[in-house]
Assembly symmetry: C3
Homo-oligomer: 347 residues x 3
């Protein structure tokens, strides 16, 4: 992560609408407005920090095109349409040095079954296991210590980080990224209670993950009891998330850290779930719905609505109830006062 850009290299990436001021400093770091030092690049992406621009010590500042203000001495303003997107482009350039594209080939320590299909463009790192019948796409990168089970299929350009598992028969689309420790295709949690014991219901379905999905570190997606657990195209899942068996997640959903989806939940497209929320089994969350943090959802959530609380309610109602709960001491006093008044007036 050695950052080293000349101001003109930055400008070439940023393609600014206009520039104000100038600096000769090499940019060797990125920092927030208030934390930046000379030699840093900074940016304004949230209007509430606008006042901090005037006092930032950064050498190069990415600003929205309509920003009015003048740089300090030895400071360069780059005025762009979307500072966040430009920053992402700069970071993508840095990323290439952090995670250089590995050379294709199979590391001599990897255990690849002769019955697996591995194209010449794939990179299989040390101590990876690829079982019989598995099929890897072009340019797939198994970084290290990865497990790909029997008959699993990994689409083109997938990147499986260290310690990830894709169990037998599971399928990843193209450009799927598994962060370290993610487990795809563990058994679903299903038992029949017979003669005082929990007898396991075999879990013989699979997991099917769409294109451009990312799954976070140590998250778990269970295989279906039969048929499939599905994660739709473009959905992003954070760390330590649990996706139960037979769940269907739509396209372009966002699921934050430590969320749990019980078995057979259905999320339609563009659903967003904040951290630590849990959803009971067999319910449906409609398109574009939002679930606030730490919610406990027991019922279907209509499309385009927001819910919060445990058990969850429409968010405006939950906010109101939260405020009223905080006023319980006052309410008890008011009731006491009423009781006293009535007693006083007792005929």
């Amino acid at each position: 992560m050695q950052v080293s850009f000349t101001p003109s290299e930055i400008a070439a990436i940023a393609q600014p609408r206009r520039t104000v001021g100038a600096t000769d400093r090499i940019v060797s770091g990125i920092a927030a407005l208030s934390a930046a030092e000379p030699g840093d690049l900074t940016f304004l992406s949230n209007a509430k920090y606008r006042a901090a621009v005037a006092t930032t010590r950064a050498s190069v500042v990415l600003l929205p095109a309509d920003f009015a203000g003048a740089p300090g001495p030895d400071q360069l303003y780059l005025l762009v349409d979307n500072p966040s997107l430009v920053l992402a482009r700069i970071c993508a350039r840095i990323e290439q040095s952090l995670w250089p594209k590995p050379a294709a080939g199979i590391h001599p320590t990897a255990a690849v079954d002769p019955g697996a299909t591995v194209p010449a463009s794939a990179t299989i790192g040390p101590f990876c296991v690829v079982e019989a019948g598995a099929v890897l796409g072009e340019r797939v990168h198994l970084q290290a210590q990865v497990f790909v089970g029997r008959e699993a299929r990994i689409g083109d350009d997938c990147w499986l980080m260290p310690g990830t598992v894709v169990a037998a028969a599971c399928v990843l689309g193209r450009r799927v990224q598994l962060q370290p420790g993610a487990i795809i295709g563990a058994d679903g949690f299903g038992y029949e209670f017979v003669d005082g014991r929990h007898r396991k219901s075999p879990q013989v379905g699979r997991v099917v993950v769409g294109d451009d999905v990312e799954i976070g570190a140590n998250s778990t997606v269970d295989r279906a009891r039969f048929d499939r657990t599905e994660i739709g195209e473009g959905t992003k899942i954070d760390n330590l998330v649990q996706i139960g068996h037979n769940v269907i997640v739509g396209k372009h959903c966002l699921i934050c850290s430590q969320v749990g989806l019980s078995g057979s939940v259905v999320l339609e497209d563009y659903v967003a779930i904040a951290g630590q929320s849990g959803l009971a089994g067999h319910l449906t969350v409609g398109k574009g719905a939002k679930i606030a943090a730490q919610s406990g959802v027991k019922d279907d959530v209509p499309a385009k609505t927001s819910v919060w609380g445990s058990p969850s309610l429409p968010i405006l109602l939950e906010q109101k109830l939260t405020i009223l709960r905080n006023r319980l001491p006052e309410l008890f006093k008011r009731v006491e006062a009423l009781e006293a008044q009535l007693k006083e007036r007792q005929p």
Copy 2:
């Protein structure tokens, strides 16, 4: 998961009390009643879906013995005592193709210490580590990238999936199944605060897991400070569950995903804990008690009772309080009305 059964093969597994109708279709999939297509097997295990039987397109339908109704053309009804159990038997047959019994033997890449005991019937997969003094039972299967520490003991017929860890001195009974990434025997979380620093209390106990236990993906069971952390026979633990040091879990408990048990908790037999609940340290949950989802349990729970909420209460009380909280807006209005009335009548 290539499913391919003739209707008569299905019937041979199902052993139906009687059959109605007939089909020649090869069964190549399993699906829910409403999702099934010709060529699928389906089943009725929950009475609330009874109406969907008449319209299912499945070729073979597993039904309870008392089901009244007639199949469509090219459709076979199999009437059985317990459709769920029959389905489980069929899935168990499919499971053999998904997870074929591996050949016994030690993969050439595995690192097995000469001081470990590994019977000829065991299967040690690629990149597994078995340290000195570890003792493996008959037919133990370490699938891949498994770690078994010094002096650990693994009972007959255990199956440790990829990336699992059984740390030093821990003990698994027979037929224990560890889903991928499960960690048995990490250190308990214990410190003494001395001179402004948290000084670690060495954690020198172990974990003892009973027969027929299953532990989910990326779940963690900590070793005891001294003595043992114990998981009783037949207990089933879902993914991402935390079991603290010195916890004693009884027999045949069910612990759902993302539950956390603090140190020294005691669960008696047949306890069931729903997802994302947390239990404070040193408390006891009595035999057969149930804890609803997202509960926060701070006190002992009597046997055969159900609790819910954070902090948790008897479930009927918590349900009542939840309803009354939802009526707070109304209550505030009623108190305001009373105040207005009294003011009006002010003498």
Copy 3:
């Protein structure tokens, strides 16, 4: 974990102020007062168990120096300043047999890049990966199946347990302990929503972990978007904890199991967070503040205060509101009674 100490060996470790009674028994186990058997060592560290001392069957009992009472026959009391600390010293002795200091050297199966720096005093276990540019300190112990990425730096005397990951460019201080499955440096969860899709914001910062930090099993600490995610010296983190990108954790904090810290949270020194709590992004928790279990923190927490609840409030207020909520049935009845009284007196 074979425990075997003579009473005089125990006394030599305990260095008691005085002793009462005597035994010849070899100490072969450690147990709580009520569970101990002859041959066990036990201890009194919490005054509430004082009454159990008289009836314990343990052979050796560690007691506070001011304890008044007489041992049974064949029983030895050791009176010490701090029984917990003495127990920790005894357990540390046991720990050496559980986790003997490994011999230095690189296991023949490890994959260490020639461009990595590994001192002769380090121990690299089987199937570990150390990538180019990584720098390991003296006596570092990578136990087994560990991944250390490009340009990562691991300080002296760190111990990385099986299956841990320290991704590219991340830095650990000295004596850091990673429990099995801990992931340092997965990508932060950051996306820009462009044209109906979540486009990944490259995460090119790193994680910097201070001296004497411990991170629990299967916990995840994300790399910063840019700059750093930081864990301060002496902080202890339990299992299954999520630390988001750009979080700054101070020194000597305690973070219990299943806690989640959203992006850019700041914890000052000596903060303690109980299990399953979640903190929203970009907030600050002041020095010495405490957060009770299952809290949902949405606002800054002032130094030295305690909060509880979801959303969290000052703990005394939350406790009061919890009690008043439990009295809602009574409050509804009192309002009904008032309404009835007023109706009765209707003019």
